[in-house]
Symmetry: C2
Subunit: 144 residues, 2 copies
Amino acid sequence: MKLTTKGHYGLKAMYDLALHYGDNPIPLKTVAERQRVPENYLEQLIAVLRRAGLVKSVRGAQGGYILAKRPEEITVGDVIRVLEGPIAPLECVSEEYIGDCDQFHYCITRNVWAKVRDSIVEVLDSISLADMCREAEEIKQSKE
Amino acid sequence: MKLTTKGHYGLKAMYDLALHYGDNPIPLKTVAERQRVPENYLEQLIAVLRRAGLVKSVRGAQGGYILAKRPEEITVGDVIRVLEGPIAPLECVSEEYIGDCDQFHYCITRNVWAKVRDSIVEVLDSISLADMCREAEEIKQSKE
DNA sequence: TAAAATCCCTAGTTTTTTACTAGGTTTTAG
DNA sequence: CTAAAACCTAGTAAAAAACTAGGGATTTTA
């Protein structure tokens, strides 16, 4: 039940971009340093996010990345699905699954994992990048 | 966010034993065949479950395995924790984590994963093997 | 008492995945 | 023109996953 660094780093990067939404494009180097992830590796992850339409890039000097939509419109689920694939503790409970498991119609353990999937999906789809920024802001306030 | 075959096969095996709770010990070979998992591999998994006190073994001819407690008293969470380790999409949100992450006290993405963990834990700890057997029974009834 | 059934244990091995690294090409502001 | 950036792809080292293999110990039963 572990997340890989793809989802982990990718969400950190998206959150970082959300915190600076409205500013000039942020160079990947900056994001990588702030979030302490290897830049070259993050580059591969953000390429996936770009192709999926979640971030936009600006090339050349003074270039960088910005969110393709407002932070309110991007959920954690969006980011994770793009980087980690369909949300499912087991392949046979992913949304796109074409049943080739012989016990498919009578598999009780499968039902358990479908319930787990639903509860994960509900959490991930209910949290937007804007929610994360708001939470950070609240924590910051409460410390002053 | 994937489960490994350890948790998958292990739960199948425990469910199988629960279905036959009260009978004579079930040989592992039988469980492996019914649940279609490699016997030698399952042997390693059930050894872990035995050492954790979830199943008991009876050696020798006519031996096999039985649940160490009633199906009502064993949850899916118990089985998964034993086979897969602490339930946590990221190490830093597992219950036993000793914070050595520099951003520990101010990490918003971490909060997201803690929420995911909580929702998984709630599902896994709320389903017992007895619940699974009951569900199987209901499905069987509704097909008649 | 011997054979068969079964659990028990541990050391490989193969395959897959993860998590990078490296090093180039292209684009654009200044 | 130069530097800063995005873009692209191939390679690789390490770890984990998923078994396989094979021998030993225990108990029933013929």
